[in-house]
């Protein structure tokens, strides 16, 4: 497995130089497609004929798609289409009934959740799941700890590795809080953060695990248009640091504006795949979202 990408301070500074509320230099409006400059053809994650059944319910039915390194990939579909289930299968929460999921050429099926995270897949949750009584900084530091090697013994006796990792982990966590724009809340208990700040904190915590692939589960849920625009900028900023982003989203405008490619799920099946423009014009997708019969269109 390749070395996980780590943002250098310079990269983060560059990213921080532009305030969040200012439009990004690359393509501004929500519905303008914005191809990723760093997109390669190298496959990062491959979902290979995955089927997942819960008793008689087929949550995912022979779904296949693959993510390329450096792109922003959208996973969309109506409620109950199996998007989050798909996420959970990737991050080890569920085990596919059949089929495999390969990340950087290696199967993740059967791996432990924390192993998958350290392997380079980080995620946020549809319903924010922070550690509510920990400060924002501590939340991010839990993520940063994923790659730390301080043992219980070196923590107990305060050996050099402890000091070194605690210091670098703290510095990096503060950097990430600045990166997502909530550095001023570092010392506040996370339950006291506003909803939008909590969503950003979750992203910072996930980024702290040094992911190659960041999975965002409906990060814009409950956001107003201005907040959505800010989130869009943030997602692009994350992509620009070299992290591949997988985005589950309801809001079609947001997805169309930021993603390079999209897969559409409905009732656990893949019904379309392609660029935002292709997907938008696909009659099956229109039908799935608007309920128009395909033959009538």
């Amino acid at each position: 497995m390749s070395e996980p990408h780590q943002e250098t301070p310079e990269e983060l500074d560059r990213a921080n130089a532009r305030p969040v509320d200012e439009p990004a230099p690359t393509g501004g409006k929500l519905d303008e497609p914005n191809p990723s400059p760093v997109r390669g053809e190298e496959v990062l994650l491959e979902v290979d004929h995955v089927t997942l059944r819960f008793g008689g319910v087929v949550a995912l039915n022979d779904v296949s798609f693959s993510l390329r390194k450096g792109e922003i990939f959208g996973l969309i579909g109506p409620n109950g289409a199996g998007k989050t289930t798909c996420f959970n299968a990737m991050t080890g929460v569920y085990r596919p009934t059949s089929g495999t999921i390969r990340f950087q050429g290696e199967s993740v099926v059967g791996k432990k959740k924390h192993e998958i995270t350290r392997g380079g897949i980080a995620r946020t949750f549809q319903n924010v799941r922070l550690f509510p009584e920990m400060t924002a900084l501590e939340n991010v530091m839990v993520g940063a700890d994923a790659h730390h090697k301080t043992s219980v013994i070196s923590a107990l006796f305060r050996l050099p590795r402890f000091w070194q990792e605690e210091k670098s982990g703290r510095a990096r966590s503060l950097e990430l809080l600045r990166f997502v724009g909530i550095a001023h809340r570092a010392g506040d208990v996370s339950r006291n953060l506003s909803y939008g700040e909590q969503r950003r904190l979750e992203i910072a915590r996930a980024l702290a695990t040094n992911p190659t692939l960041l999975c965002l589960d409906e990060p814009a849920a409950g956001f107003n248009p201005a907040e959505k625009e800010e989130l869009l900028q943030l997602i692009r900023k994350i992509r620009d640091t070299g992290v591949t982003v997988l985005l589950i989203e309801h809001d079609m405008r947001l997805v169309m504006g930021v993603t390079d490619r999209i897969v559409v799920l409905e009732f656990g099946k893949k019904i379309a795949e392609g660029t935002p423009a292709e997907v938008r014009d696909n009659p099956a997708v229109v039908a799935a979202y608007l309920g128009v019969p395909t033959d009538a269109a």
Partner: protein, 368 residues
């Protein structure tokens, strides 16, 4: 650092302490330590002194009892308070520490011909044994949660006790006598004798201080963060890369180690142990102490541990008319616990985080 500032804004004694510069904090700690070491002479204080000291039992002995109860409370606090694992069989580890010492040192032990060690030599082996016991219990059971774990640990303590009662090697009620005392002489006299309990209390105090420093170091590191994350959302913690099983096992092993320390000290002071010592009531009492003092907070655990030992000892020898209050010690003690838990459900000196978790849970139960 800004994240400390938000904690410092709180009022009360802790708020005051947190706002002081480092040198004031050191002086406060130094004074507290000196006072702790002078506790055996509390009876000499005019007026209040005689009210504090126990009457029915030698005051230094009562203090020593308090010291190993405090140790047990500190250890159980790691398991219950930090990692959030309900352990009802904590006395099992205390027993393993004490029996480990007895087997290696007492002339009654079947191993005596081969070992017959001094107390100090037996200590590391007995402690290693308790940690192994912690791992053996933890490994298969830590996949269980909440109530299920509590029942399994309950079973563990009973197994240890019944094993000690029934096997000939562990001698049941007859127990082990002549367990050697800790080493050292002063002016040609052994420091740790049979008449004066003060040195034992001081030894206990030193061990307590070392344990506090160790647990504090762990708490303020990735270990403490992992425990807290596990307690708050175990699945989210694992998805963020925390090896949950590993850290829960460490909590168990560290808790077992501290419990074993209590057992080793106890065996060294008493010189005699048998299976009657390690009854289930003991586990419940220590757990009550932790919860009463304030789960998840070391100061709370210390206070709780001291009180569960002090209250019954203080009631000894006091009579109301014809009835000896000692007979009713657990009834009175239960009453005290009920009153404290009604008035301060978060404990006497609560952990701020625990108190907030408790409040959150109240809101979930009764939404406004």
């Amino acid at each position: 650092m800004s994240e400390k500032a938000s904690f410092r804004s709180n009022g009360g004694v802790r708020g005051w302490y947190g706002r002081q510069p480092a040198w004031v904090q050191w002086i406060v700690i130094a004074i507290a330590l000196v006072l702790a070491f002078l506790l055996p002479y509390a009876g000499d204080i005019p007026l209040i002194g005689p009210q504090i000291v126990t009457e029915g039992i030698d005051w230094p002995s009562a203090l020593f009892n308090m010291s190993y109860y405090v140790l047990l409370a500190l250890g159980l606090n790691v398991v219950v308070g930090y990692a959030g694992l309900l352990d009802l069989g904590y006395v099992g580890f205390f027993a393993v520490g004490a029996y480990g010492t007895a087997l290696l040192t007492s002339p009654d032990s079947v191993l005596y011909a081969d070992t017959g060690w001094k107390w100090l030599m037996a200590v590391p082996v007995a402690l290693a044994l308790t940690m192994v016991a912690g791992l053996i219990l933890g490994w298969p059971t830590l996949r269980l949660r909440g109530d299920y774990l509590a029942i399994v640990t309950l079973g563990f303590a009973e197994i240890i006790r019944i094993f000690a009662t029934s096997t000939t090697t562990l001698r049941g009620d007859r127990g082990f006598a002549s367990i050697p005392h800790p080493p050292g002489t002063w002016n040609g006299e052994p420091i740790f004798g049979v008449t004066d309990a003060v040195p034992y209390f001081w030894l206990g105090l030193v061990v307590i201080i070392l344990v506090i420093l160790g647990v504090r170091n762990l708490d303020r590191s990735r270990v403490g963060r992992s425990w807290l994350a596990i307690r708050e959302d175990e699945e989210a913690a694992e998805i963020m890369g925390v090896r949950t099983i590993k850290y829960k096992l460490w909590a168990f092993a560290i808790g077992a180690f501290i419990g074993g320390l209590g057992g080793v000290l106890f065996a060294g002071e008493q010189g005699f142990i048998n299976s009657q010592t390690f009854v289930l009531q003991f586990s419940i009492l220590v757990l009550a102490g932790v919860v009463m003092g304030g789960s998840g907070n070391m100061a709370g655990a210390i206070l709780g541990g001291a009180l569960i030992s002090y209250i019954p000892d203080r009631l000894r020898g006091i009579s109301l008319g014809d009835t000896d209050l000692y007979e009713y010690r657990f009834a009175l003690f239960g009453l005290v616990i009920i009153i404290i838990m009604v008035l301060r459900p978060q404990g006497l000196i609560p952990s701020r985080r625990r108190a907030m978790e408790l409040k959150d849970r109240e809101k979930e139960v009764a939404p406004q």
